[in-house]
Structures are given as C-alpha cells and as structure tokens.
Symmetry: C2
Subunit: 279 residues, 2 copies
C-alpha cells in the first residue's frame, strides 16, 4: 500500500480509518502504515498501534463475534512508516475466540498482544459504578491542542471545568484524576478500533500529577469491552466520557486505570495500563 | 516428570511450589502437571494456571529483571494432568523484556498470555489510593473452606467482619465488594508466582453480588506489579490484603478489578479480569 495522504476529499476515508487500514499480505498477515494525523512526539500515538492490532483480528476472515478483551504490549518504539501485523486465531470455541497479535517492522517485534472475541447474549445485567456528572460537551470549551503532538488534534477533548491537564507549572497536584469528554475529530461513528484508541487517549498521569513534562512510555494496556454492536450504534459519533487515575507510582512504573462511558452513561470499556516513567 | 504427591514430608516442597514446578523440555519449553491441592470444581484453579505461565518466564535462562505486567487468557478448560508451557522472549531491550506465553495440552492451546519484565530503579514515588482499614488477620475468623473446591483450602482467607462471600441465599447484595486478608496455607514467602495466583483468588463477583451459584469462567486476567524484591522480602509469608469489585455485568461478561496490598499497606499488584457468566 502507499502512505495515506495528509489531506482528504469529502469522499476520502476518515484519517482514523486510514490509520488502521490493513492490506492483506498472506495468511494471518497484513501490511499497514503509520499516519501523520496520529503522530506522537516520536513515532505514532500508542492508541492507533493498539487499534491496528485489534483491527487485524476484526477483519480476519475467521473472526467470531466481537472483541470483549484486548491486551497490547508496547515492546519498542514504533517508527513512522510501514509495519506488518500478524493475527492468529489460537483457539476458537463455540462462543469465544482467542487471538495472538504481533506487529513487526523490518522483522523486529515492536508490539505484541492478544484479544478475546465472543458471541454475546442477553443475561442478568447491572452496574456497580456510575459515571461522574459533567456539563454537556457543548457547555465546555475544547481542550487546546496548541503545542501538542498531532494525535491530540485528532480528538475533541473537553475536560471538567477547573481541570487543566498537561499544564506544566511544576505545582504538584493531590491526584491525577481527569474527567472529560472525548470523540474523534472530525466526528466518526465509534467502533471497536476507535474505542481501543480512545482507551489510550488519556494523558500520562504522572505529568498531570506533577504538572511537569517527563519521559514516559506505555508498556502494556489491557481493555475490557462492554460495548456491543447495539451500544456502538446508539453512541454514533457523539462524545464518550472518560475518567482516568493512578493507583501507585513506584520505581519507574505507574498503573493507570480508566473507564470510558457512553453519552448516556453506560460503561463501554474498562482499561488498565502500566506506564514507564523516568524520574 | 512424575505427578506431585498429595502428601508431604517436612522437607517436601510447598504444594504451591509443586503446582508451578516446571521441568525443562527443550528451548523455551517446559513440562508441568496440575496439582490436587489447587484443584477447582473442574480442572485446576486459574490462579495456578496464570502462575505457571509466569513461572516459565521467571525461570527462563534469558530472563531480564522482574515482572511488571502479566496477562493470561484462559482459552479452554485445563484438564487435570500434564501440560506443556512455552515462554518465548519476543524482545529484550536494555531495561525491559517482552514475553509470549503459551500452555498446551496434547497440542491444543488451553491458555496463552504475555508478560513484561523490567529492571526497576528508584524514582519519584507516590500512591493515590489507600488500602481499606481492616482488623488484623488474627482478629478475624478464617473463612471456612468446608464444601469449597480444594484450592480454597490452600489459602487462609479472612474477610471483613460482616462480609460473607459465597453465601448462596439468593438475596441480592447492593455491590460485590469484598475486603479480606489472604495468604498461602500453609504459609509460604510471597513471590511473583504466588502473588499472581492470589490476584485470581477473589471469588467470582457475580456469585457474591447475587448470592447464588452459577456457571462462570475467567476469560482473561491482567496484572500490574508494584512489588519488587524488597517488597516481597519484607512481606514474607504474612497475609496480604485484597480488595475486589465489579464495574459492570453485561451480556454474559463482567469486569472484576482487584488490588493486593502488603501487610504494611503498600500496593503490590493491581488486577483486572473479564469473567464469563451464564445467566
């Protein structure tokens, strides 16, 4: 495939669709390319790397059902450019399917992971947590992407008034919690790939907590999906509500937990990631 | 190897060490065997399956540092008996190492997973959560393992007074939270393998919430480790404090989150799992 263009005609794919576009390259194999709209400070935004790995299973001819869990391990910096993805169904049961996922560049492993897909069916249902109450997205100013890496401009983020994540004045906060609306920019109907990327769209908590810039890198992210086809259809391209926090920062790593809620307050995904930080 | 014995001389290995014992079987390969002391209602306790997968990386000659993250996907019921484990270092960097993990029986995949190991070093450190306050373990009666599967008898569990998990009177509770002390029985110094198993020792939340028995199965579990060698040494064989809850039950699956705290209140592990339930 050729590299995606940086500008789009009205009939062009959404940049996110371009970023997760995979061309068949043999059994269980696909080729893709990083996208300028989802560039991070170095290499691509990790959310698109995660989404690409899931996308390979989503578009695999042997796919069963929908994803219910997904883990991605970031093994090395992904370089801007082409990559190969391998998605192998390791075991397919009557109602669940287990995937092994791998991303390589020039033969070197840069990311690996796994996913579980399942055929869901109605059961007793309940929630034990509720989303925070926030003003509606149109009542909150959009987070400025000025001076941020390109991927931030590919999201419309609106944080709880009073929260100012990524303000680097060095005045340490009491916690790293943020609550905010987020959607693709330009708007795009939510699907499993974009929900995966949104699970990684929460800024690194250590920078929010300490209000200072520092080197970080997500090591691993695991997402559980409650979203199903009906929930995604109902959500459409509206903002989802994201909440993120840390449990502990210790000896070079912190664990970041997040929840993503639908516009009408249904939990779509719960996420846990471990992040490296330097000092 | 031969199957572990069911009884032990004073000089015998702890049953947990027997349960995670792996004999070399070629490059990246080991052979193990399920253990009667960690049997579940059908097949082995999933905590030992997870621990065995991590153990393969822990004892691999190419191991770098200590585990910081681990994911296990339960692809199929593990049968009582022998299994093969494969642990492949997919990428080894200067301070991190990424593992692909696989368990098979008669050539069929029964569990898969991944782990990240790392060389840790001192950094700024902080916690944003605190453990619940509980009476000390010796002030709480031990949870009765009567009528429970064998693996429950291999743990000493002491829940917050008033909590009675796995009481099946059908009177639904308002939530599924439990807080309790847990340690290996007989006592055994905590290590990464046993900490992994303890992360899966929290009873299925849907049974606690609904106070009724039902078919369940953990689909995937992801653990982040804050424990390092110093924390494990300090903990020794004392009880750890575990807290578990659910965010949402929906269409056949619920997400269960847990934290494991040291005896002196340091977070040792944060855990997230997705569990299948039937009705």
């Amino acid at each position: 495939m050729t590299a995606p263009a940086d500008s789009h005609s009205p009939t062009a794919l959404h940049p996110f669709d371009e970023s997760v576009h995979l061309s068949p390259a043999g059994e269980h194999r696909w080729l893709g390319h990083t996208h300028a709209a989802y560039a991070n400070m170095v290499g691509p935004f990790g959310g698109t790397t995660a989404a690409v790995l899931l996308q390979a299973a989503l578009q695999h001819p042997q796919r069963l059902g929908d994803p219910v869990a997904h883990t991605v391990n970031y093994a090395a910096p992904v370089a801007d450019g082409a990559f190969e993805v391998k998605a192998v169904p390791m075991r397919t049961n009557r109602s669940t399917q287990h995937w092994n996922l791998l991303m390589t560049q020039n033969g070197d492993v840069v990311a690996s992971g796994s996913a579980v897909f399942a055929l869901r069916r109605p059961t007793w249902a309940e929630a034990e947590v509720t989303p925070p109450e926030l003003p509606s997205p149109d009542a909150i100013e959009r987070f400025s992407s000025e001076g941020r890496p390109p991927w931030v401009r590919s999201y419309d983020m609106r944080f709880r008034p009073g929260q100012s994540p990524m303000t680097f004045d060095g005045v340490e906060q009491g916690d790293s919690v943020t609550e905010g609306w987020v959607r693709d920019e330009p708007p795009r109907p939510l699907d499993f790939a974009s929900l995966t990327a949104i699970c990684d769209s929460f800024f690194p908590r250590v920078m929010i907590r300490r209000r200072r810039y520092g080197p970080i890198g997500t090591i691993t992210m695991s997402n559980c999906f409650h979203a199903d086809a009906a929930a995604l259809a109902e959500q459409g391209s509206a903002h989802v509500l994201g909440v993120a926090r840390v449990l502990r920062y210790h000896a070079g790593f912190f664990d970041q937990r997040a929840e993503v809620w639908s516009a009408r307050g249904q939990l779509l995904a719960s996420s846990q990631q471990l992040v490296y930080f330097k000092d």
